[in-house]
């Protein structure tokens, strides 16, 4: 086991502007200030630096409101940070692109499209032929356990079903980087486990880079190469922990692995230590 504490303030970046060959996302001293309706500035992210290697599975853990979603928006190119820079493959991120696929916390399905229409949207945009896109989409819909619901509209789905459609919609267009914001948050344990395995399979097959926000320490350790722990008010990176467990990982094997258990317990303890009361800056 190797826990690498690396407080963001102590983070030392290479002096050369040349990115290491394997770095895909490079976040450098990013801060995000929101203006609230009461005209006050609210510091959501403060001085975040983080590099993510190509093909890595990185989870972000942190208390509610610490800026996890905001960080994902910045990497997605939806929001530009108030200060600092975010780069992808050495290029500054200027906007969204099909190389980074988000799964939003609020799903954001297209209400005017059916389940099938939502999932087919991405491939069709990428120029995949309709019949092929449909076949692929149907497979994905089956994978997320929604076979038979292809012609339902989002308003006719339960919360968990919507979440699974959002997942399928993003997977359907094969982004290089997946930006997933609590993608299994509304799912029962059983469905969740199945989808975790499916996600791992896809990841292992296509060597995607995944940035994965979750509230489950368990899930983070099970899935990730690296767990980023954040703290709140303002959002900062507390620790970055490398998860040094063999792959491919099997859930039932891992549950019995003492290294796995230690990671989980350690991380949980770390959170418990900081019983901070949140308040806006």
């Amino acid at each position: 086991m190797k826990v690498v504490p690396s407080r963001s303030s102590e983070w030392v970046r290479p002096v050369t502007s040349q990115r290491p060959a394997s770095t895909i996302i490079d976040i450098d001293r990013v801060s995000q200030v929101f203006q609230t309706s009461t005209r006050k500035d609210h510091l959501a992210l403060s001085d975040i630096s983080l590099t993510i290697e190509e093909g890595a599975f990185v989870s972000i853990l942190g208390p509610s409101g610490c800026g996890k979603s905001t960080l994902l928006y910045i990497v997605g190119g939806f929001v530009s940070p108030t200060s600092g820079t975010a780069k992808i493959k050495g290029q500054p991120i200027t906007g969204p692109g099909p190389d980074r696929g988000p799964v939003f916390q609020e799903f954001a399905l297209f209400p005017w499209k059916t389940v099938l229409g939502n999932v087919m949207y991405g491939p069709r945009q990428q120029g995949v032929r309709a019949t092929q896109a449909e076949a692929q989409s149907r497979m994905l819909i089956e994978m997320v356990g929604l076979k038979g619901y292809e012609n339902f509209y989002p308003k006719e789905l339960s919360g968990g079903m919507k979440q699974r459609v959002a997942l399928a919609r993003t997977l359907a267009y094969h982004p290089e980087v997946l930006l997933m914001d609590e993608p299994f948050g509304a799912l029962d344990a059983h469905t969740r486990t199945r989808l975790q395995n499916d996600l791992l399979n896809i990841w292992e097959r296509d060597r995607k880079t995944v940035l994965f926000v979750t509230h489950s320490v368990d899930e983070a350790v099970f899935l990730s190469d690296k767990v980023v722990m954040m703290s709140t008010s303002p959002g900062r990176i507390r620790e970055v922990i490398d998860i040094d467990l063999p792959r491919p990982r099997r859930r039932n094997e891992l549950l019995l692995d003492p290294r796995y258990q230690k990671y989980v317990v350690d991380i949980e303890r770390m959170f418990d230590e900081s019983d901070e009361v949140e308040s806006p800056s």
Partner: protein, 255 residues
């Protein structure tokens, strides 16, 4: 069950119309309005049926409908595209917004004489007047609808590789559709009013023309026939718009 509900709704909708006609009949019967100004409904509907059979009246309706639809269609196309463009691009917004502020409240009829000289006495000037009046309700609804579109929908589409301009058609347009259709409904009613007004001011054909000629010669029955026709037209057009609406919005919670 659905069908029962539907017919119940139809009954509900017919009730007030029947009431209005009854009130109308009452006003005539009890002498609150002289027959020369307000002919009894029976006579008017009788004449309407009779007129509907005649070729000349059909032509009047056709002339009005052409102007109505052409004007309305132009207003929809212009209003929706301008509204969405203004919501999407700050640069376009900076230009369109003040122009709309100035032009929207202008009484377009006052410009009708100028339109007549520019476009002649035929369809052109009337269609222009109709579009000019129907344009702004549609434009404003589109603009507000489009600027309220849920950000994450746009983000999702862009992340899926939709080019920026395409997002307008693929996301902003459908997401703003409820508001756009409300604007269209208002625009449609205004089109009905204005096409009539234009024909009443200067025309040689159309329902509005039929109305003024009848009014000038105190042919009350003939005056009411075009009025009832436009009423029914409004009802039919609105029903069709309602059908279009529930088809287009079938995925939305409010549909």
């Amino acid at each position: 069950m659905m069908r029962r509900l539907l017919s119940a709704n139809v009954m509900f909708g017919l009730a007030p119309i029947v009431l209005v006609i009854a009130l109308w009949q009452g006003l005539v019967s009890f002498g609150f309005a002289p027959v020369v100004l307000l002919p009894p409904p029976g006579v008017v509907f009788g004449r309407l049926l009779q007129q509907l059979m005649t070729w000349t009246f059909q032509q009047e309706i056709a002339a009005t409908l052409i102007r109505l639809f052409a004007g309305f269609a132009i207003a929809v196309v212009l209003g929706v595209s301008l509204g969405i463009a203004a919501a999407a691009s700050p640069a376009i917004n900076a230009v369109v917004r003040p122009i709309v502020r100035v032009l929207a409240p202008l009484p377009k009829v006052a410009l009708y004489p100028a339109l007549l000289l520019l476009l002649g006495f035929g369809h052109g000037s009337k269609i222009t007047l109709v579009s000019a009046d129907a344009l702004f309700p549609i434009l404003l609804s589109t603009y507000y609808g489009a600027s309220m579109v849920e950000q994450k929908l746009i983000w999702s589409a862009m992340a899926a590789g939709t080019p920026r301009y395409d997002v307008l058609f693929k996301v902003v347009l459908p997401a703003a559709m409820p508001s756009i259709l409300t604007g269209c409904r208002i625009g449609l009613v205004i089109s009905c009013i204005v096409v009539f007004l234009a024909e009443m001011i200067t025309s040689t054909d159309g329902l509005g023309h039929a109305l003024v000629t009848a009014a000038r010669t105190f042919q009350a029955v003939d005056m009411f026939v075009p009025l009832i026709t436009i009423s029914l037209l409004g009802l039919v057009l609105n029903a069709s718009l309602g059908a279009v609406r529930s088809y287009l919005l079938r995925g939305f919670p409010e549909a």
